[in-house]
């Protein structure tokens, strides 16, 4: 930071301190929101269970109690899936926007999530795999293939990249439908793993995917500094001693790991990874160390919040979290597409 003669060092220090306070405050508020959403996700639902009973189920479960079974067997796994998938999508979105310097990037919008879905469905159909521990690996394969296709056609232009991603999704979705029509087993499996819903995933999928999400999150945290330099442009980053190709490769790996895991957990969910990093940048500025941290908190807030809203808008029934998340994210997409940053494209 340049300090002109008028700005004393104490002024600068105060400025830095106030910004740091603001960032910490944003993270604390996000953490509060996350807690709130998790509690809402445990308490609210088709079956009415009082908060006291929820607490009882968590601390001192009674074996035969139906309410306790609902909480422990359905709502806790659902909340865990929402938190993990939301974190993966939020962080993946931030990394993808950072490495492409593209405000209209999101693992769902760019077709990665549908690629992962297609690979899973095909693995179930052609190889007869049924255990999540087996077919989860195909999610990464599919996400990587979709990413390669989308980036090879759309690289360079933000708006075009997003459009190519949407088209690849439009190409893959009928393929998934076809496989499902052909193969009853895949269909049955998929129904429980319905598009963009957090229900029906057992904890076994989570157990397989959790280490991978953790690895992806660690990778992303390690990339934060590199992404900050990359934001100044390839040449500047190179001048600062960064191997840009290496950054791209690591970012690609991170994105594929996170997007593949999120899809294996929750199905192809779009626009969470778009909206969350934008909200994070609004709150903490452009430093990717903070953007990534806040995205990791806001991603679960958005996805799990969408899940809770989906339970409330339909009395007696539910709307998938992915549908609600897309409805929340769509205005963000429109706003970003209108934005000045892409106006020159």
């Amino acid at each position: 930071m340049l300090t002109s003669p008028q700005v004393t060092s104490s002024d600068a220090a105060r400025l830095v301190a106030s910004r740091a306070r603001r960032r910490v405050a944003a993270c604390v508020v996000a953490l509060g929101a996350l807690t709130l959403v998790v509690v809402a996700s445990l308490v609210l639902g088709v079956r009415e269970v009082s908060p006291a009973v929820v607490w009882e189920a968590l601390t001192a479960p009674v074996a035969g109690d139906v309410d306790h079974q609902v909480i422990l067997g359905q709502r806790v796994p659902r909340a865990l899936v929402g938190v993990c998938a939301g974190l993966a999508l939020g962080v993946a979105g931030a990394v993808i926007q950072g490495v492409t310097r593209n405000p209209i990037a999101d693992p769902g919008l760019l077709g990665l999530n549908s690629g992962a879905s297609l690979a899973i469905v095909c693995a179930v159909w052609l190889l007869g795999l049924t255990a999540p521990a087996q077919f989860v690996w195909f999610a990464f394969l599919g996400a990587a293939a979709a990413a390669a296709l989308v980036f090879s056609i759309g690289a360079g232009q933000p708006v075009k990249l997003a459009l190519v991603g949407a088209t690849v999704t439009a190409l893959i979705t009928p393929m998934i439908t076809l496989v499902l029509l052909r193969d009853q087993q895949a269909f049955n499996l998929y129904r429980f793993w319905a598009v963009g819903s957090l229900t029906g995933r057992g904890l076994e999928t989570l157990a397989v995917v959790l280490p991978i999400i953790a690895a992806g999150a660690v990778l992303a945290a390690g990339l934060a500094h590199r992404l900050n330099m990359l934001a100044l442009g390839d040449d500047v980053a190179r001048g600062l001693g960064q191997r840009v190709g290496m950054t791209r490769a690591l970012a690609g790996l991170t994105i594929v790991l996170l997007a593949g895991s999120a899809t294996a957990l929750a199905g192809p969910i779009a626009l969470v990874g778009l909206a969350v990093p934008h909200a994070a940048r609004r709150l903490v500025g452009t430093d990717y160390r903070w953007v990534l941290a806040l995205s990791a908190l806001l991603g679960p807030v958005m996805l799990l919040g969408a899940d809770v809203i989906g339970r409330l808008v339909l009395p007696g029934s539910e709307l998938e979290a992915g549908v609600v998340a897309a409805a929340i994210g769509a205005p963000v997409l429109v706003a970003v597409a209108r934005g000045r940053k892409v106006a020159g494209v």
Binding site: L163, V164, T167, A326
Partner: protein, 342 residues
């Protein structure tokens, strides 16, 4: 060089080519329609199918042809024609090969409007088409409003449409879930699009509406040539460009609404059919009449493939049109820059 004789001979050549293209497409439609009438669980010979069409044959043949196969073929032809014409109007009026109602979210708006009228208000028939029109027009106005920024940048225009398509399909999912329509066929028609279950009254609405709107297009057609030259030239030729453009787009939106209200959003037909038509005619014009024919041919062929060509699975029509259209759109995007630079 361009003496009157040369111009006249060029014009004859163009007319001959147009007649040739339309004739070949008509022949293709006849062959495909015959296929559509003969193939199926109860297989008929082409002769028996044809006799059954004119009312000759045993009760079984008549039932299969009149109740099951003929409505399906007719729905494919009419909806395809409507989508093809609408796409040609959109693309020529906005002078953008990407401007197709399904990419712009207008088809999703039509679906949403139709479902709102059908499930929310409990009405059927022409009211559904009217609802689809209101939904499509609303989305079109919203996109126009949000995409405008010192002019209409074509790809951003499309991306704003993608955003609205997400929004509309979310609302659609909510409508379908809250009405507790667990019937898979209903949901498929509104999300993917299928010509399988179109019955008599809906077919009549589609047919009559298509004729009326096609007449309107014919009345507007004298503006299409000048508009394709650009606003300044068109104005110089005495065309009120804004009025012409808005009227044309309204008719195009109505066509999309009409077809979507009957068969759902058949992905990418409105994108691909005009592109094929322009390539076949190759005179730089909007190729409206040929787009009608390519649209009808495309949907009929797609439906036959969807029914019989996919390894024994009977799929909704929109799946096949999506599988054909999406690669074309990818190719269009991959070469977009090169062409706009050229």
């Amino acid at each position: 060089m361009s003496s009157p004789a040369t111009v006249a001979s060029l014009r004859t050549l163009r007319h001959r080519r147009l007649a040739l293209v339309l004739g070949s497409l008509a022949a293709l439609v006849v062959v495909l329609a015959a296929l559509g009438l003969t193939l199926g669980a109860a297989s008929l010979t082409p002769g028996r199918a044809l006799l059954a069409v004119v009312g000759v044959g045993d009760a079984g043949d008549l039932f299969v042809v009149h109740r099951l196969r003929l409505p399906r073929v007719a729905a494919a032809l009419l909806a395809g024609a409507a989508f093809g014409l609408a796409g040609a109007l959109f693309q020529s009026t906005l002078r953008n090969p990407l401007a197709s109602p399904d990419i712009l979210g207008i088809a999703s708006g039509a679906s949403l409007g139709a479902v709102t009228v059908l499930l929310g208000l409990g009405l059927t028939g022409a009211a559904v088409s009217a609802g689809a029109f209101v939904g499509a027009a609303t989305i079109a106005v919203l996109i126009w409003f949000f995409a405008w920024r010192q002019g209409l940048h074509s790809i951003r225009f499309v991306l704003v449409g993608v955003g609205f398509a997400y929004l509309a399909s979310s609302l659609l999912a909510w409508m379908l879930a809250s009405a507790d329509q667990r019937d898979a066929a209903t949901a498929l028609v509104w999300t993917v699009g299928s010509v399988a279950d179109v019955r008599g009254p809906a077919l009549t609405v589609l047919g009559v509406g298509l004729v009326v709107l096609a007449a309107a297009v014919a009345a507007l057609a004298r503006w299409q040539g000048p508009l394709a030259l650009g606003d300044d030239h068109a104005r110089g030729l005495g065309v009120a460009t804004d009025a012409a453009r808005v009227t044309t787009l309204l008719v195009a939106v109505a066509l999309v609404a009409l077809a979507t209200a009957t068969v759902g959003p058949l992905a990418f037909v409105a994108l691909v059919a005009p592109a094929i038509a322009r390539r076949l005619v190759d005179d730089g014009g909007p190729a409206l009449s040929v787009s009608v024919a390519t649209g009808a041919t495309l949907v009929l062929a797609a439906d036959i493939v969807a029914q019989h060509g996919l390894l024994g699975v009977s799929a909704p029509t929109g799946i096949v049109t999506g599988l054909v259209g999406a690669p074309y759109l990818l190719w269009l995007l991959a070469t977009h820059e090169r062409r706009s630079r050229a």
